[in-house]
């Protein structure tokens, strides 16, 4: 398995509010991948995403060390996410006067030949298999949901004035609803986890093309970021790519 990650603040924003992590087991094999895109203003925009990635990483690491839980991986992820939600929400209450902060979260974790994906917000998880690319996650955003309902198409969604408004966020409210997806891991699969700084600028077909064009994953990610920045770079860009 090969993997690489990149995070770039883009060319407009002053700070990077995206966070990511790849969690390894004791043997150094990657077990879980997380990207998070924070929101909450220029003083607090990076708090929720950072707290989410740290808290969930901790929970997963603890699980990986002991593997004493009876629950499924989905259960582990769900609990880790609820805990992170609680931590962020309480932090905002206690330290930010209750002003709302939150983050998107897209995480994938291996489990017995499967990849379990947990998802909140408008970051994405793509699967590349047999030369085709498929976005597995559904955006919890205003435009994303209108796309799902067939009201808007992808192109209309990308230029919609409300394209940056999400309908679910981790840590924003007392409780959070998480979507789970699962897929069988197959040889030569490629998984791409990324924030909307990438997907707002590059179509799925373009992502696929960049993945096919270049063998080295670090170069692939650099090319993706460069293209997104060339097209405005008005948001932070974060991506993890995993090749089985």
């Amino acid at each position: 398995m090969k993997y690489a990650a990149i995070s770039d603040k883009g060319i407009i924003r002053e700070q990077n509010e995206d966070f990511w992590n790849i969690i390894l087991d004791q043997d150094g094999n990657p077990q879980a991948f997380i990207v998070a895109d924070g929101m909450g203003g220029h003083k607090a925009g990076d708090i929720a995403s950072k707290m989410a990635v740290e808290s969930i990483s901790d929970s997963i690491s603890t699980y990986l060390e002991n593997r004493d839980s009876d629950g499924s991986v989905e259960q582990i992820l769900r609990e880790a996410i609820y805990k992170a939600n609680d931590v962020i929400f309480r932090y905002a209450m206690e330290h930010l006067n209750g002003s709302n902060i939150g983050t998107t979260l897209t995480a994938g974790m291996f489990c017995n030949g499967k990849m379990i994906i947990a998802h909140i917000g408008d970051s994405s998880f793509y699967l590349v298999r047999n030369e085709t690319i498929e976005k597995l996650t559904r955006d919890h955003s205003y435009v994303g949901e209108l796309v799902d309902k067939g009201i808007l198409d992808q192109e209309e969604a990308r230029v919609h004035p409300m394209r940056n408004q999400i309908t679910r966020a981790l840590g924003y409210e007392k409780e959070v609803q998480v979507d789970f997806y699962s897929l069988d891991v197959m040889p030569n699969d490629i998984y791409l986890l990324c924030t909307d700084g990438l997907t707002m600028k590059l179509s799925a077909d373009e992502l696929l093309e960049l993945l096919k064009k270049e063998e080295d994953l670090n170069t692939v990610l650099k090319n993706m970021v460069a293209l997104a920045n060339e097209r405005g770079g008005d948001d932070n860009i974060t991506a993890i790519v995993v090749k089985i």
């Binding site: 407009i12 909450g40 220029h42 408008d122 205003y142 209108l146 940056n164 999400i166 309908t167």
Partner: protein
Amino acid sequence: MTGRVLNNRYELVEKIGSGGMADVYKAKCRVLKRWVAVKILKDEFVNDEEFLERFEREAYAAASLNHPNIVSIYDVGKEGNIHYIVMEYIDGITLKEYIRHNGALPWQEAAEIAISVLSALHKAHRHGIIHRDIKPQNILMTSDNVPKVTDFGIARAVSTSTVTRKVDTVGSVHYSSPEQARDGYTDEKSDIYSVGVTLFEMLTGKVPFDADNPVSVALKHIEEQPVKPSEIVPGIPEAMDEIVLRAMKKSRSERYDSALQMIADLDHLRKGESIERNSNEIDLFATRVIGSLEEESLAGKRNRVNGKKKEKTGKKSKSKGFIIAFVYILLIGVIVGGIWLAYDRIVRDLVNAILAPKKQPVEVINYIGMSIEDAIADLESKDLPYTEPVYEYSNTVPKGIVIDQKPPAGISIMPGDDAITKVELIVSNGPEQVEIPTDIKFADYVEVEIRLRDELKLKPKVVDEYSDEVAEGRVIRTEPEMGSVVDAGSEVIIYRSLGPELKEVIVPDVTGRTMDEATNILLSNNLSIGKILPEGREGYKGRIIDQEPKAGTTVKELTPINLYFGDEQAPSAGDGIGIGNGSAGTPRVSREIYLPSNRDFGDTVEVVAYYTTGDSGEEILLQRFTVRKSEFPVSVLVPFTPGVKTTLIVYMDGEFQYEEEIFIPQQ
């Protein structure tokens, strides 16, 4: 934030509200000694330059709107990272709170409020400003129950921000038109839709479409038909149902064409008149005349109704019915025309004169020095007619204060809308404000100086400064900074670049080095390469035997260092691969570089010669030297390959001068 004073002028006293985009404070304006509301943009937006620009532009546009049902914008400003709008302070509650407090409003009151909101929109639409976020939360009710619309145009700035945010779960989506919900498209008719929804809520106490999440609400706006308000609150007139449903039509073309048209229907309803239907192109005035006429002439009305009935039922004698209808219509036309004239010219005056209480002239008081709001309040309390205030820039009178008036104080005029003499007020707009452009960074300082002085009426002052990133003679920054809004006539400092600050460096020793090595050493010490001597020698083969200035000397950065090579005939170490030089065995041909007559030079000329071989296009440095004019022509040796075209390219004093093709056939 409370207790803070913005730009030494607005003293934040108390937080009075908070919305998706801004917090609102009650504040005291120290200059005009009055209460104002200061809207401070939330943190998450202040990093988004594009958004801030749009936000400011929309706020300025809205500031030009002057209307009794629009919350006035006094000022737009920033202090550091705090971006704010200063507005009229309204001591009251929002229409949302008003409805929550009173429940469904009587339809007559709802009509009154809707008319006020529409008349504010009419004004804005005429100025090309779309509100885009009409909702009860953006309509304030003063303590005298006067509705005032706030936040014109700002919705657009906010919705297009690239900042990731949570969808507003309580607000705007409940009032968004289908096109706004779907594509984000908005125009005047989107505002009318939102008024329709607001009117629905006033009449029934609830919004027409509700769901537990904003996307479902949006979908309902796009797909579902609203119920009639009278189905929720019995007793609402059918005509009111029709007005609400027409304003809320999914298709823009089926809605009212303008705010004015909707006002006309509400006005009829309020006065107990029937609504003119099936017409997309009636203006307020025409509608009112026909409406009044129906009251005046019952006969005409009856005729008209009969005519319509005949048209519908008279299937058997279609043509006959048509003729009868036509005659009726003609007749009505004549009657309408006649009565219109009579009514307008005579009847109204007569009726007014006889029925209206006898009006007395009222003395105009002195308004000069008073705030425009107070002046208008006084005029309105006396029912004195006034024209739209005229705003003029003034450096001496604060913004919003009356400078002049006509007629002068002491003159008496007739009250009422139809009076001939109206009070004209000239109001100070404060000093003329200009924005220091943001595109002047890196521009030539002379152009900038002229632009600031002539176009923007500022007083530019040039101050020199070293800069590593801005070229010499170009603008580094200004004070106040670019993008600030300043008073016309104020001083702006232009910081002109002197180029990078030249530090002193100690000349390194390059004797014994090859040309390549010396170049690297000198360039990395921020020195430049001077003359290569002796001139005209073949390439830079061999090692440097001397340099000027000597090693150890202290000089300014970029000082050229002359390099001396040994005589080319002398045996060299043989290892130096000179810059752009072919290998030692390459044949060379001598060419003379001459001084062109069509260009003026100083006493010395810097010559840089390149050559290319074949069609490679790769320019290889042959020689760089500075010589006196009198020394021309100068010979150079150009490497060549027999049978291949070689081009000699000559630059003088940094500009391309000429090129010469050299072709020596193979033997």
